[in-house]
């Protein structure tokens, strides 16, 4: 029996206590659905309400919260995503890790919008959920197995999330896998491992019914057409995947190279998406219901496997001075099988290489040396020898061996492959992101600063305003259950496909003066913007799928509510404004000695950012802001 008046939702969140094996329904009302929508925002509310300061991320009191959005499973394009949030063992703050594949859809078929795992099982288990039936299975036979084999052994037509050895051994940046897709960041795998939970398998016979089936179907059809027609989602991403960014980033001096000492790599072409397409690509594929099909399929060890994303190419290529693409394909597969985040693994390795070069720590890791990398990955996953130290990540290594100025993380999470000294807005995003050094949670301003559009990357003007807007919007889109790539379709196609036209040049040149207007929108109460913005197709999608009277203002406010609630969670866990920072390498060293602009003026932008967000000088959201977002009672109980 669905206990919600809204469509799209299954109306039930299941809470499973692994210590007691008690299973209960987590209270979640229609008012909650309206305020928090789903996905990472729903999870943030659950975590805020249940996790106390001082909670041990790897202890039984931490919660692993798996959520879907209202569009998941309703047939909306690119909306099969699900989210995993928890108190991160890597950062000590919230992490929200988003994943594609089929698990989200199967979870809804089982009849749930979300799952909450708490406690710690005495024995190693995997959990099977079929409709209302929850079964605990002994997992001794699966423990130690890699992620691919684990899923093969579990078998069946269902949705699976599993961990590999890295999660079992509590590697700080271990991931959770579903098919070949990863909830990669923040150590969600370690939290699952700490609960002695190897896998969760879901299936069922329920259907997520849109509130207005006909209108939803018609809207989705138009949406698919628009995604296929757009130059980014219809051409670039299917043909080149995110790998297509390598060359473009190199040209713009933003491809992290040699542990972020510079933004260009001499051999970039050998690790590029173009080279990947020419030499190794078998085909491309994507998540269920997704017309974009951005995934790469390559061959490794005679098997057809997932190819690397841009992050992996950049960080296991340019950032460690490796120009061997075939090795990256193998490493990508190995890390997936071991169950580790490629970004943080690669970032930690690059940091260790620089420690070695500077004589601070003899790990045997050297820039350009590749013959020991595969063995090191396994050592990390199994916490053997130096692998045990590397499994703690860059931040902890820098606390032990020094080199804090060039330990390339934010809030303890390694930065992704975008070198921000030639993309100031991306630098601000890294520093402010609730989950740490993440390009997406940071607002992904780099897409305006030279990749999709051509805004001046070296100005601070309007960067804070645009970052706030993008962060809020992406937060809301994620909460819908949609892939963030659907946001690219919001960029008017002529700006992308005719970059040299007078219109594009004008638009790019005025972007840096857009802050004032953007801030009017940022600050306006949701009810004043009770309009539909056709280019943001999520508005009507949510409206038709759920029946919630969604508007642009409401969607924006949901995003802001989510971002602010995550911030409040972090503050509860001890975050201060001192944590909103970048490594000194990015703020004090020039990436190009001939260009004095190539360092991130973080303090100016940070001040502007706090002000726009309605936070005080210490980075704490003002009570008036919390009241406006309906969070005052939530956070001041």
């Amino acid at each position: 029996m669905v206990s919600t008046k809204y469509g799209g939702y299954m109306g039930k969140i299941l809470k499973i206590d692994l210590s007691t094996r008690e299973i209960s329904e987590y209270p979640w009302t229609d008012e909650d659905r309206k305020l928090y929508l789903g996905g990472k925002i729903m999870a943030a509310k659950i975590l805020y309400d249940n996790i106390s300061a001082g909670c041990d991320a790897l202890g039984p009191s931490n919660m692993l919260v798996v959520t879907t959005g209202p569009l998941t499973g309703t047939g909306a394009p690119s909306s099969s995503r699900f989210n995993i949030s928890t108190l991160s063992p890597q950062t000590g703050f919230i992490t929200s890790s988003n994943c594609g594949g089929t698990f989200g859809m199967f979870l809804k078929k089982a009849g749930y919008d979300g799952l909450i795992f708490t406690g710690k099982s005495e024995n190693r288990v995997w959990i099977e959920i079929v409709n209302d039936k929850v079964t605990f299975h002994e997992a001794e036979n699966l423990w130690g197995k890699w992620t691919g084999e684990t899923q093969t052994l579990l078998g069946g037509k269902n949705g699976k999330i599993v961990i590999g050895p890295a999660g079992e051994n509590l590697v700080k940046y271990s991931s959770i896998f579903s098919d070949e897709r990863a909830a990669g960041r923040g150590g969600v795998g370690a939290v699952m491992g700490s609960k002695n939970l190897k896998a969760v398998v879901v299936s069922g016979t329920n259907i997520a019914q849109p509130y207005n089936k006909d209108k939803a179907k018609e809207h989705y059809k138009k949406w698919v057409f628009a995604l296929k027609k757009h130059p980014l989602t219809g051409k670039q991403l299917p043909m080149l995947g995110t790998a297509g960014l390598v060359s473009a980033m190199n040209a713009r001096n933003i491809l992290a190279s040699r542990n972020f000492t510079r933004g260009r790599f001499e051999d970039f072409e050998k690790i590029s998406g173009e080279y990947l397409a020419e030499k190794y690509l078998i085909t491309h594929k994507g998540c269920i219901t997704c017309p974009i099909q951005c995934g790469r399929v390559v061959e490794v060890e005679g098997k057809k496997v997932k190819g690397p994303e841009l992050e992996t190419l950049g960080l296991l290529g340019a950032n460690i001075e490796n120009n061997n693409l075939e090795l990256i394909l193998q490493w990508n597969y190995l890390l997936d099988e071991l169950g580790m985040d490629t970004i943080s693994t690669a970032g930690t390795i690059a940091f260790a290489m620089e420690l070695q070069e500077k004589g601070l720590w003899d790990s045997g890791l050297e820039f350009g040396k590749t013959d020991n990398i595969s063995a090191i990955f396994e050592d990390i996953a199994y916490r053997r020898g130096i692998g045990d130290l590397l499994s703690q990540g860059s931040k902890r290594l820098s606390e032990r061996f020094g080199g804090k100025d060039f330990a390339m993380h934010a809030k303890g999470m390694e930065l992704s492959a975008y070198e921000p000294r030639s993309a100031y807005g991306q630098g601000l995003g890294y520093a402010m992101s609730n989950r740490g050094g993440c390009h997406l949670n940071g607002g992904y301003l780099v897409v305006l600063e030279g990749l999709g559009l051509n805004m001046d990357p070296y100005t601070t003007k309007s960067k804070a305003a645009l970052t706030v807007m993008f962060q809020n919007l992406m937060e809301a889109v994620s909460a819908c259950g949609s892939c963030l790539f659907t946001t690219y379709e919001m960029f008017p196609a002529p700006l992308i496909s005719k970059p040299n036209s007078k219109f594009s040049r004008f638009a790019n040149s005025v972007l840096k003066y857009s802050g004032g207007v953007v801030n009017i929108v940022n600050k306006a109460p949701g009810r004043l913007l009770a309009i539909n913005v056709p280019m943001i197709r999520h508005i009507n999608a949510v409206k038709y799928a759920t029946g919630i009277n969604m508007t642009f203002g409401r969607l924006k406010e949901v995003g802001e509510r989510g971002y602010t609630l995550e911030r409040m969670f972090n503050i509860k866990m001890g975050l201060t404004e001192k944590d909103d920072k970048l490594p000194k390498r990015l703020t004090e060293e020039l990436s190009d000695p001939k260009n004095l602009k190539t360092k991130v003026p973080i303090n100016i932008m940070k001040k502007q950012y706090y002000k726009i967000r309605g936070w005080d000088a210490k980075g704490i959201p003002a009570k008036s802001k919390l009241r406006k977002l309906g969070l005052l009672e939530v956070t001041h109980q």
Partner: protein
């Protein structure tokens, strides 16, 4: 001679990573390329992101940007990712 390097979708369409060509300006260079390759038209090439010696032509003289012997031109398609 001008060295031209192709990236992104343009490179996949042309099945060529680089060529050397003579041309007095970016516009003329693109016209020459369009004449040499059936897979792409001048109109399509005009919609590329073009760098001359590492600088976007929109910071120079756009399509009228002059070229001299030894210059390197990079031709990209727009990209995004995550």
């Amino acid at each position: 001679m001008i060295k031209v390097r192709f990236f992104g979708i343009t490179r996949l369409l042309l099945k060529t990573s680089s060529i050397e060509i003579k041309a007095p300006s970016v516009e003329e260079l693109l016209k020459e390329i369009a004449k040499s390759y059936e897979a792409i038209t001048f109109k399509e090439l005009k919609c590329s992101i073009v760098f001359v010696n590492g600088v976007n032509i929109n910071e120079l003289k756009h399509l009228k940007t002059p070229l001299t012997d030894g210059d390197e031109v990079q031709i990209f398609s727009a990209v995004a990712g995550g």
